[in-house]
Symmetry: C2
Subunit: 101 residues, 2 copies
């Protein structure tokens, strides 16, 4: 079910996905409810770390901040620029996509 | 001292600042050590909320995640896209600049 939803999102956004992935280092897709990795181009340790720290901690913290500041607002997308690369985070309802570029 | 540093940053980035502010709803500059508002275009309540939740909670959480994932990396910039607008966050050493656009 989740895989079908994910495939639909990827298909609907095929053009954007392709454009993003052209410059990407890699990506991780994780299951929000379970906190598990669904798809990844990284090794287990990196995938798990990104899922835990970004999808599991940072996204909920960002969502809480946005909602606390305006109860009618919600988080749409997160970009974390670092010295070395950028994390692009798309928080969907069932899963979270993190692209490193 | 802090005000001089801030003025230097603004002056050095005058062109970018002007370009950013053209589309901005407003901004808050806060003191990292004290957690206080230095400059703001918003009312006290909004400025305090942004300083507390974004500069005080979200930025340290993002920095920790980035460093935990790669100890030689560091947070450079944060963009929080919401349904209504976007928060652009520049975490400097002494102060944090949050622009809403």
């Amino acid at each position: 079910m989740l895989t079908i939803q994910l495939e639909n999102v990827v298909r609907k956004n095929a053009e954007n996905t392709e454009r993003i992935m052209r410059n990407a280092i890699g990506y991780v897709v994780s299951n929000n409810a379970l906190g598990t990795v669904i798809q990844s181009t990284f090794d287990n340790s990196t995938s798990g770390g990104i899922t835990k720290l970004i999808s599991g901690v940072l996204v909920p913290t960002a969502r809480s901040a946005v909602r606390d500041l305006d109860t009618t607002n919600d988080l749409a997308f997160l970009r974390i620029a670092t010295r070395k690369f950028e994390y692009l985070v798309a928080p969907e309802k069932e899963f979270t996509i993190v692209v490193m570029q």
